[in-house]
């Protein structure tokens, strides 16, 4: 006869304690890195820590934060969106042309973009495609469309958008308030709503979620659709700030958004995400750019600095994961 079953759980108290410690450390990591960057800026250039300084330094934080939250949605269902950068650029071009001149048509195009994202999610799910290859293809599709629309920099931001993005809020600078709002909306939407739990569950254990009677297709489409929404908002915000568009405006956002999500405590697989963390990660990266300027690091090395920051954060994560977990 066969003998199986009844394996007692090797649940040691120490294991649980170190798991709690690791979790606490990892939760603290995003805030900690933001604090370190702000501290470093303060040490080098104390005058930058002011209403005016933050307004200037965090100028581009809003579009970056939005793109990051979009990337996070895709990563929550174990995929990666390499096209979000050129997508933001394309949305920017649409905003500076169609949305400005023929608002209805512009709105329609942007809604179509969101739909395209949802369809992409469906395609990746149904055909079980590697998202890397598909979104790499989309990277060039969006870029091609953007160049077709605006072969050379130009266009105008709609006046209302420019007015919104250059809002002067009392006491706390607008970018900080906006980032806070993005983080809160993301947190409530994904971490607090009942369907948000299902969506994250679809990243954590797709089989279980499917067995509980949920449609994985819908979950994937929802998450990609949300990424599309965030990408559109990011493009809008970007054009509101720059007032005119350029097809290559968003190219850097792909890496920034991935780095921001990781920096904010998100994982590549397993549905572990944190919208507030992602926003903090985006702020950290934006400020890091200013810090590099203050440190007089030559522009040649600023690209490298982005890569290095990402590597350092991942290394820190590995170190934390090893803390008290001898595996």
């Amino acid at each position: 006869m066969t003998i199986t079953a009844l394996a007692p759980a090797p649940a040691t108290q120490a294991g649980a304690a170190s798991a709690a410690l690791r979790r606490a450390l990892r939760k603290a990591l995003p805030g900690l890195s933001l604090a370190i960057i702000v501290g470093a800026i303060w040490a080098i250039n104390p005058r930058a820590i002011s209403y005016f300084g933050f307004t200037l330094m965090l100028n581009l934080a809003v579009p970056v934060a939005l793109a990051t939250v979009g990337q996070m949605c895709v990563m929550a269902v174990n995929d990666l969106d390499l096209s979000i950068g050129t997508f933001v650029g394309f949305v920017g071009c649409v905003t500076a042309t169609f949305l400005n001149e023929e608002p209805w048509l512009g709105t329609l195009i942007l809604l179509g973009c969101i739909l395209a994202y949802a369809v992409l999610g469906a395609l990746i799910h149904l055909r079980r495609l590697p998202s890397i290859v598909v979104t790499l293809g989309m990277f060039f599709v969006w870029q091609g469309l953007a160049i077709l629309l605006l072969p050379r920099p130009g266009g105008h931001a709609p006046a209302w958008l420019h007015a919104l993005m250059s809002l002067k809020t009392p006491i706390v600078p607008f970018p900080i308030l906006a980032a806070l709002a993005i983080g809160l909306v993301g947190h409530v939407g994904l971490m607090r709503t009942s369907y948000g739990a299902v969506l994250r569950g679809a990243g954590g254990n797709p089989v279980a979620v499917e067995r509980a009677g949920w449609s994985l297709l819908k979950a994937k489409m929802a998450m990609f659709g949300l990424a599309g929404v965030c990408g559109v908002l990011s493009g809008l915000a970007l054009i509101g700030l720059t007032t005119s568009a350029d097809a290559n405006l968003g190219n850097g956002y792909t890496l920034l958004s991935i780095a921001g999500t990781i920096l904010g405590g998100g994982e590549f697989v397993g549905g572990r995400i944190s919208p507030i963390g992602a926003v903090i990660g985006a702020l950290t990266l934006t400020l890091a750019g200013s810090l590099l300027n203050f440190m007089h690091i030559s522009p040649d090395w600023q690209v490298a600095a982005q890569g290095v920051i990402l590597i350092v954060v991942l290394a820190a994560r590995v170190l934390i994961n090893r803390t008290g977990a001898p595996r």
Binding site: M1, L6, A9, G15, S194
Partner: protein, 493 residues
């Protein structure tokens, strides 16, 4: 048993996976408030039947009626709405969500303002009811909890009720990660739930659990129900006979001239969690059995020996090349895109080298030799490995190990789901090879196979608890050692 219309009735359920017939026409009807114990050998079709009932697997043919009403488009969603729940052996919780959020995933109706509080109350109350003093916080992330707690959550979740009724709960090896105390709590609760009218199917390898809990026993073999009836009419030995465990007993090999205590030592290994000084020792030409309940450290030992090949460390020494025969073919053994010959040759690549290149003639020669020796049924060894049946794929994995230069062959429960014909072929081969000087470390979950071993080590909690010679070997001695409590860690050797 009540005579009310069946809660769920399935008739003529058949399902084949390729050439393997997993279910060959099964009829089963459950009454309200009935607990059925479902038992059978590996591959008897229990899991397939359970997946069909849960709607997670579409049968080739079957009629399913719930509460007397035939269900046309039966599937997961419908099964849920009809109140049929399943606790799968591989846990189906989302590790990245909290306990309460996992409850929400099961219940579509847990929405709107305050859903988190309601979900937490729902699962918390059920945990309190089934496992008093469970110590699980409803806002804990499931992935951070130990496996035992996760299984408790999984079970409690299956019994939570919101808007949909609860008719039937299927429990597949529910105690595999529970300690004795929590298992007892579970069975006490099961009896209460059944008394309250919930039906229940209990699948377990532990016959005591079945006999102590079920109202009716259903025994499956080869995809069919072979015996069923009120539990009163069965005892342990009757169940074993019904499962077909007895017939294989006459396959005991003639005692070979086994113990050669002067043969060279090939393996000496102490498990990482071994508290005392015991260690595993294997000499040239020995067949060593590794027994005990599944998941108690046998596979860890095999991997440990594999990694130590040709070296020595504080844990022990392994003095010859090793090869491993995987039990979980899909995840540990097969290269699905390759031919049979390439799969067999994977462990012997160095041997095929002629200059910088591999000789395909040498590879073909090895494949042809083992096709003849182990009897792989295929017209052409250059056919894809996936064109073979499961048993023949397993033979190819044996050929990979036995055809290599390894002196030590590690076997990780390699006969899982393998047909009896293949088994008998391989048993003969192992005896021959051992006679020729090869050493085997053989982890098996099938009691009969231990009779082929010169000595057997029994594992419990990651450590060796007994060493049993061939003469002293019996099912009782293995079970006694596997389950022994503090008082009797006897060495029967």
């Amino acid at each position: 048993m009540s005579s009310s219309p069946s809660v769920i009735a399935i008739a003529g359920a058949a399902k084949s996976f390729g050439a393997v017939k997993a279910l060959g026409g099964v009829d089963l009807a459950m009454s309200a408030g009935e607990c059925v114990g479902l038992i059978g050998h590996n591959g008897a079709g229990k899991s397939t039947l359970m997946h069909v009932l849960a709607g997670t697997l579409a049968p080739d043919t079957a009629t399913i009626a719930v509460g007397g009403a035939p269900q046309a488009a039966y599937g997961v969603g419908l099964a849920h709405r009809l109140g049929i729940r399943c606790v799968f052996q591989e846990l189906s919780l989302c590790p990245n969500l909290t306990v309460a959020e996992n409850a929400r995933v099961l219940h579509a109706s847990l929405t709107g303002i305050g859903w988190r509080r309601r979900a937490a109350r729902l699962i918390g109350a059920k945990l309190d009811e089934i496992f008093p003093r469970h110590g699980i916080a409803t806002d804990a992330i499931v992935g951070d909890l130990p496996i035992g707690k996760r299984q408790m959550i999984e079970i409690a979740r299956a019994f939570t009720v919101t808007t949909d009724p609860l008719r039937l709960v299927i429990l597949d090896e529910p105690t595999s990660s529970l300690d004795a105390h929590t298992a007892e709590q579970l069975f006490a609760y099961l009896r209460r739930a059944v008394a309250a009218g919930v039906s229940c199917i209990l699948i377990s390898h532990l016959l005591g659990e079945i006999l102590g809990t079920a109202d009716r026993v259903v025994v499956m073999r080869d995809g069919r129900i072979v015996t069923q009836g009120p539990t009163i009419g069965f005892d342990r030995s009757k169940l074993i006979v019904a499962m077909g465990g007895a017939e294989a007993h006459d396959a005991v090999p003639a005692a070979s001239a086994s113990p050669r205590s002067d043969a060279p030592l090939l393996v000496r290994f102490r498990p990482a969690r071994q508290g005392d000084g015991r260690e595993l020792v294997a000499r040239e030409g020995e067949v060593i059995g590794l027994a005990g309940l599944a998941g108690h450290g046998q596979t860890d030992l095999i991997i440990g020996v594999f990694d130590l090949a040709g070296r020595r460390s504080a844990q022990g020494e392994v003095n010859a090349p090793v090869a491993l025969v995987a039990g979980d073919r899909q995840s540990d053994g097969i290269f699905p895109l390759w031919s049979i010959a390439e799969n067999i040759g994977a462990r012997s690549l160095a041997k095929f080298r002629r200059g910088p290149l591999l000789s395909s003639a040498a590879e073909d020669e090895l494949a042809a030799r083992w096709k003849a020796r182990i009897g792989i049924r295929t017209p052409d060894m250059r056919n894809p490995i996936l064109s073979l049946s499961g048993g023949n794929q397993q033979k190819a994995l044996f050929a990979r190990a036995l055809g290599s230069d390894a002196r030590i062959v590690l076997m990780d429960d390699p006969m899982r789901g393998v047909d009896i014909g293949t088994k008998l072929d391989v048993y003969d081969l192992i005896r021959e090879e051992a006679k020729a000087g090869r050493t085997f470390l053989w982890y098996t979950t099938e009691m009969d196979e231990l009779s082929h071993c010169d000595r057997t080590y029994v594992f419990r909690d990651g450590a060796i608890v007994a060493e049993i010679g061939r003469d002293a070997l019996s099912e009782d001695s293995i079970i006694a050692a596997s389950f022994a409590d503090e008082t009797s860690a006897a060495d029967v050797a």
